[in-house]
Symmetry: C2
Subunit: 219 residues, 2 copies
């Protein structure tokens, strides 16, 4: 695991002190937030699709229908995969110094198609990464389902993390003003799981469901 080198594309011009290129920082964000937004170019124009990603070693993966317009356009093409966690609103004494606390990652590169022989293992890693042990408890995938599914991957080679944390930073003279400033923390949270009414009698909620937390803080 080597840290990423800055490229012309990934050098942060704005608030660059918030940037990070080390894999520990990048991986921690990727591993805690499965949602991502994948950007690709279609007919010269940008498209941003919300989807799920998962990481295995030096790659991130995402999946969908083999007929998906977005996956087809992304194969072998340049994509930008962005993962974002909002941690809070930063309330300052002037408009301009309002901000947000966040952790985000932008990855750039070419997407490749995961070969058929590895597809099932990748999809199981996706499921088990979120819910350890679940893939083995499911009805096995059919050959037709696997054929209908495409898994794309991308090397974690060019990209950056950006992190803001802490309170507002106001202009010196504004601290004398009687204006409430501070942080409104935001986080995501899982509520109690809702069993499907068609679950068979006696089927208990497995540990991987009971202990699952989408809390953006750690997994």
């Amino acid at each position: 695991m080597t840290d990423l080198s800055q490229t012309d594309r990934t050098r942060l011009r704005r608030t660059h002190e918030r940037g990070a290129f080390d894999r520990a920082t990048i991986d921690a964000i990727l591993d805690v937030q499965p949602m991502c937004h994948v950007g690709y170019v279609m007919d010269g124009k940008p498209v941003v699709t919300p989807t799920f990603q998962w990481r295995e070693g030096d790659h991130v993966y995402w999946h969908g229908s083999s007929a998906s317009r977005g996956l087809r356009a992304s194969k072998g093409a340049e994509v930008c995969l962005t993962v974002t966690i909002l941690d809070g609103f930063v309330m300052a004494r002037s408009g301009m110094h309002h901000s947000a606390n966040f952790r985000s990652v932008m990855l750039f590169g070419q997407a490749f198609v995961v070969p058929d022989a590895q597809k099932e293992a990748k999809l199981s890693a996706f499921i088990d990464g979120l819910w350890p042990g679940r893939s083995a408890m499911l009805r096995p995938n059919s050959a037709q389902e696997l054929k209908a599914t495409t898994v794309l991957g991308m090397e974690i080679a060019e990209g950056s993390a950006k992190i803001r944390s802490g309170g507002p930073v106001d202009d010196d003279e504004d601290y004398a003003l009687p204006i409430w400033a501070g942080v409104i923390p935001v986080r995501s949270l899982t509520d109690a799981p809702l069993p499907d009414p068609r679950n068979l009698p006696g089927v208990e909620m497995p540990d991987h469901i009971r202990s699952f937390r989408q809390d953006d803080q750690a997994r």
Copy 2:
């Protein structure tokens, strides 16, 4: 407020029954989730930047530094602005029928620069949309701050919403299997505001902070 017509670009090919083109559905998603991801093309390659958006009537807006690489590349150019709310994980009896509950909007079009004369009003609408009445309580914006800030806008003219809700939909024969299925609800939440230690003595938390909820459910 006219509903959007489907275009070739916005016709949902996958699970099209989840698509919606009426403005009430689209606006409700835009109004409840300030975070968005803006895609633009730079040197022929896609970039996806997390940022905040706000809506006024038939337009969405976003802002940043006048020197921002992303804002400069987006001016007068095609962008895709995507807003996403994750409502839950959908746990099925087979891998393939796992899914997510979500509400999302994709908007396409050309971004324009908000003229200087309207910039301050737009930024106040951004602040007051989240925290009613706050902009008037702040230290006034300086001319230099306004100059350093660019607000981009985009007409809500081409785009779509996509919504999934409800429990898993499994293959008929899989309902006979003793596998736990259901939904794990996810939502975002605000914790108690943290006052800046440098707030002046006697400055109370305003109502617009006390009653603020980033709960993704309604505002």
